[in-house]
């Protein structure tokens, strides 16, 4: 029976696998691919767990890629799996009660699939233990990738782990996605197109006029010595007219298209920012702030410039080339052919040189950032540098970085300096060909001198544009890369989606929180497991545990910054996932460890959650938060500017402003995430007083490292490795002498040690 598992193609043809399948006595039940051998060398092999139909229990076969059987291990009843990882390598060990049977190794790339395999095996073995009949429907991982067996989340379309080659580099096609933003400006774009056509046409008129000017005015004059001033005047007027037309049309065209591209750029920026604001915290956690900032700021600008400048120029040039070709062919097809033939070759040459340069310039960029790194390392750390008298060392580091920069620059400049002369040379050679062939034709009287002049005028104008045309490739690539980075954000679906038909919360909100069997995994790591907890309205809960024990995660799940992986979170009996996010968050007041103040006045900052608040309300909140007095001491009172570019406040003062902020929105549920841990004890007391006002009559979840700050909590929840290990008030937990007792003792000891040292 092979049908119970679907092996990927490359394994199905493996002789050892086929041999295994032929032994009908066993049922292959689950498999996984591992990529390291016993010596931790890269080698792909397959692990297959099979259940034997005879009285044997189960066994695992390991089959090497090349088709030989690496080993077979009998799995006795009571065997279990262990999975651990260290420094990029995962170890899957199977143990029996008597000892270790075997360990297999893999790189962390396979971690999710190995975890899945372990779970499958564990379920299988436990079922075998109970000597139940196998029910593969139940065991079979319903949502796993067909190729690599990695679990696929329900909302994912495809597997995120396997086939890395599908992650193609940004394609130019991404740029077409921009059409969505250009669509509203269709009319302007069409107008711009017509104007481009006309203005380009107008620029091509002057060389055409030189033809009769030469043939009908200048050359007859040389023969007859009589100048036809009237005719010359008409042609000159034509030249002037064409020039002014080209000027006016060009102006209009550039203006219209710049207008449109600026608007597209703005739409792109605002839409991206709007979308970004609604993404979950999970997304922000995985991204660097600077990176997101450049994407929205610089990339949109780069795309905008590409559209309004590079793309437009290229388009105009192409139009010009086409029109020129048509005109030249209409005048003299043979000379036109000779004139136009070298063009592609010269364009390719220019592109080639430029391509070489591009990588050089990229290198210069990278080295430049290295120079910057030294600066951004040293200047903020100047106190440390001075304290350890390491000015010379930093100076040398800077000199070294600059020297490297110099080397790279020298190398690039060698090619770069030859670039402009090369282009000129190529242009001259092209012109030379036209001259030579033209003179030959003039000599044989097939063309007039005027025609040759016109050809030369057309083509020299064109060669001038060759360089900028050749740049379009790299400009397009850069813009495409930028567009991809923007659409990465725009196409990202929030992992905490707002429900389409939200359930309104029953008013007044009471603040009852229920968690049932809550589990949360971050990537492939289970952060919290099986948490069941009911919090009564108005109750104060203290969350206690080592860092990394899942306290903050629990709070984040209740606020729905993340969505639970298993189980549910309910507020007043309603699942948080069915409440509109904005309504849900209104119920929460939050005081965090690092209070964040936006640039603006103190009053604005306090009223952040409720911009419509009156001055009285703001003052009330500030008073309750013990902030009123220190605010009045500031020179501008409530109008003092704070935040990154504003007045600096102490940690305690900032914290009290953030408490006032939470008080003002009068939330039903209060989250205190290490609210007092970054300040000294005196300040802590002041904050604590403010917090006591805040806690009144609200369901409160307080996370605190210092256990002494949680004495007022009705119940303490002790978490360890994502699970609740103890629940009770301080006295109960102390007398139970469990995990809390140990934490408390450790802290008390520490405090005593410090007291003694002083």
């Amino acid at each position: 029976m092979i049908s119970t598992i679907q092996l990927p193609q490359r394994w199905q043809s493996n002789p050892a696998v086929q041999a295994l399948c032929k032994t009908h006595e066993s049922t292959l039940s689950t498999w996984v691919e591992i990529d390291l051998n016993q010596q931790l060398h890269f080698a792909k092999s397959l692990l297959i767990l099979s259940e034997k139909t005879s009285h044997d229990f189960a066994r695992i076969d390991q089959i090497h890629e090349s088709g030989h059987l690496e080993g077979t291990w009998q799995i006795p009843p009571g065997a279990y799996f262990q999975h651990s990882d260290h420094a990029g390598v995962g170890h899957l060990t199977i143990m029996s009660p008597q000892g270790r049977i075997q360990a297999w190794h893999h790189t962390l790339a396979l971690n999710p699939s190995i975890t899945q395999f372990k779970e499958n095996c564990t379920v299988l073995l436990s079922q075998l233990d109970l000597s139940n009949r196998l029910d593969f429907e139940k065991i079979g991982p319903h949502l796993t990738c067909q190729i690599c067996q990695n679990p696929i989340a329900q909302d994912q379309e495809k597997c995120l782990y396997c086939d890395p080659e599908t992650e193609i580099p940004p394609s130019t096609l991404t740029l077409f996605k921009l059409w969505r933003f250009a669509k509203p400006y269709k009319k302007e774009l069409i107008l711009g197109f017509i104007l481009t056509l006309l203005s380009t046409g107008a620029t091509l008129v002057p060389p055409y006029i030189t033809m009769p000017l030469m043939d009908d005015v200048l050359i007859p004059f040389q023969k007859t010595q009589v100048m036809d001033f009237e005719l010359a005047g008409i042609y000159l007027a034509g030249l002037l007219l064409a020039a002014s037309c080209a000027w006016g049309l060009g102006w209009w065209k550039t203006y219209i298209l710049a207008l449109v591209s600026e608007r597209i750029g703005m739409e792109l920026r605002t839409k991206t920012f709007q979308h970004l604001l609604h993404l979950s915290l999970e997304y922000f956690g995985a991204k660097r702030t600077g990176d997101l900032m450049t994407r929205i700021g610089n990339e949109t600008d780069r795309i905008c410039i590409f559209l309004s400048l590079h793309l437009l120029d290229f388009f105009t040039d192409m139009l010009m080339l086409l029109m020129t070709a048509v005109i030249l062919i209409s005048i003299d097809p043979l000379l036109a052919a000779v004139t136009l033939l070298p063009l592609p070759f010269i364009a390719w040459m220019i592109h080639f040189v430029r391509d070489k340069l591009r990588f050089g310039f990229e290198k210069v960029d990278r080295n430049w950032s290295e120079v910057n790194n030294v600066l951004s390392d040293t200047i903020p750390g100047i106190r440390v540098v001075k304290a350890f008298a390491q000015e010379d060392r930093e100076n040398n580091r800077f000199i070294l970085a600059n020297q490297r920069n110099l080397e790279v620059n020298d190398r690039v400049n060698r090619i770069w300096s030859s670039f402009a002369p090369t282009v000129t040379l190529l242009t001259e050679v092209g012109l030379l060909v036209v001259w030579a062939f033209g003179i030959y034709q003039v000599a044989h009287d097939t063309i007039t001198v005027g025609v040759l002049t016109a050809f030369l005028a057309y083509i020299s104008r064109f060669y001038g544009r060759m360089d900028s045309m050749s740049r379009i490739v790299s400009h397009t690539q850069k813009a495409a890369a930028g567009a991809k980075r923007i659409f990465d954000i725009l196409d990202h679906q929030s992992s905490v989606p707002d429900t389409p038909n939200p359930t309104p919360m029953t008013q007044p909100v009471r603040g009852k929180i229920e968690l049932s069997q809550v589990g949360f995994r971050y990537g492939n790591r289970a952060v919290t497991k099986n948490i069941t907890l009911s919090i009564a309205p108005g109750e104060m809960i203290g969350l206690v545990g080592h860092s990394g024990s899942g306290k903050s995660t629990l709070v984040n799940l209740i606020c729905r910054f993340y969505d639970v992986s298993d189980g549910s979170v309910k507020i007043d009996g309603v699942d948080v996932r069915s409440i509109a996010i904005s309504e849900l968050r209104q119920q929460f007041g939050m005081v965090l460890q690092e209070p964040f103040l936006f640039f603006g006045t103190i009053a604005d900052n306090i009223a952040y959650g409720k911009p419509t608040a009156t001055k009285e309300e703001v003052i009330q909140a500030a008073k309750a938060a013990n902030a009123h007095e220190f605010i009045l001491r500031l020179p501008l009172g409530y109008d003092s500017l704070v935040g990154e570019r504003g007045q600096s406040l102490s940690g305690g003062e900032r914290q009290r402003i953030s408490i006032a902020r939470a008080l003002l929105i009068d939330p039903k549920i209060l989250i205190l995430d290490e609210a007092t841990s970054s300040v000294d004890t005196t300040t802590e007391k002041e904050i604590q007083k403010a917090l006591d006002n805040l806690v009144q009559g609200r369901t409160t979840l307080a996370i605190a490292h210092r256990l002494s700050t949680l004495r007022k909590a009705d119940r303490l929840i002790v978490l360890d490795k994502g699970e609740i290990v103890e629940v009770g008030n301080h006295d109960e937990l102390m007398s139970a002498q469990g995990a809390y007792y140990q934490l408390y003792q450790a802290q008390a000891r520490h405090a005593a040690e410090i007291a003694q040292a002083i």
Partner: protein, 155 residues
């Protein structure tokens, strides 16, 4: 150097340390202090909570049985493949997928960002791939021309 401890490995694969006082510390781990810059010097034996039990400057003084046990255990946990040759890459744009030969066999790595190539010393480079596996390039000057060229484009 006084050897006043002993190591034993049980049938579950766990190693215990018996110290001079005869106290058994189960589930110990052996760690190299400078895995890249000086792998043959500086070893720590820590208990399951990460507290150091024994510090060894080098293994040369140890009896052979202990030395072998430590070396087997280290080889079991250490994984910094050294890239010997870059054979192929799909694109110079990022993310880029490289086929490489390492001292642990052929493999394929995915480079997410140029910043994942870091200098650990003047000549040695550490490359972190998309899965967090760290590859070492010892003395990049010894690489062949093609590998050097590829590397150069990303640095």
């Amino acid at each position: 150097m006084m050897i006043n401890f002993n190591l034993t490995k049980d049938q579950f694969g766990a190693i215990s340390l018996i110290d001079a006082q005869g106290i058994v510390h189960p589930n110990i781990r052996i760690i190299r202090a400078f895995p890249i810059s000086n792998p043959s010097h500086g070893f720590a034996i820590v208990d399951h909570n990460g507290h150091e039990l024994v510090w060894l400057n080098d293994l040369s003084q140890l009896p052979d049985s202990l030395k072998e046990l430590i070396q087997t255990e280290l080889s079991f946990f250490e994984f910094i493949p050294e890239i010997e040759k870059i054979v192929h890459l799909n694109t110079f744009a990022l993310p880029s997928i490289w086929d490489v030969h390492t001292n642990r066999g052929k493999t394929r790595l995915k480079l997410k960002s140029e910043q994942d190539i870091r200098r650990v010393s003047e000549e040695d480079l550490l490359i972190t791939d998309a899965n967090g596996i760290q590859y070492l390039i010892r003395n990049k000057k010894n690489l062949d021309k093609f590998s050097k060229k590829i590397l150069d484009r990303f640095m």
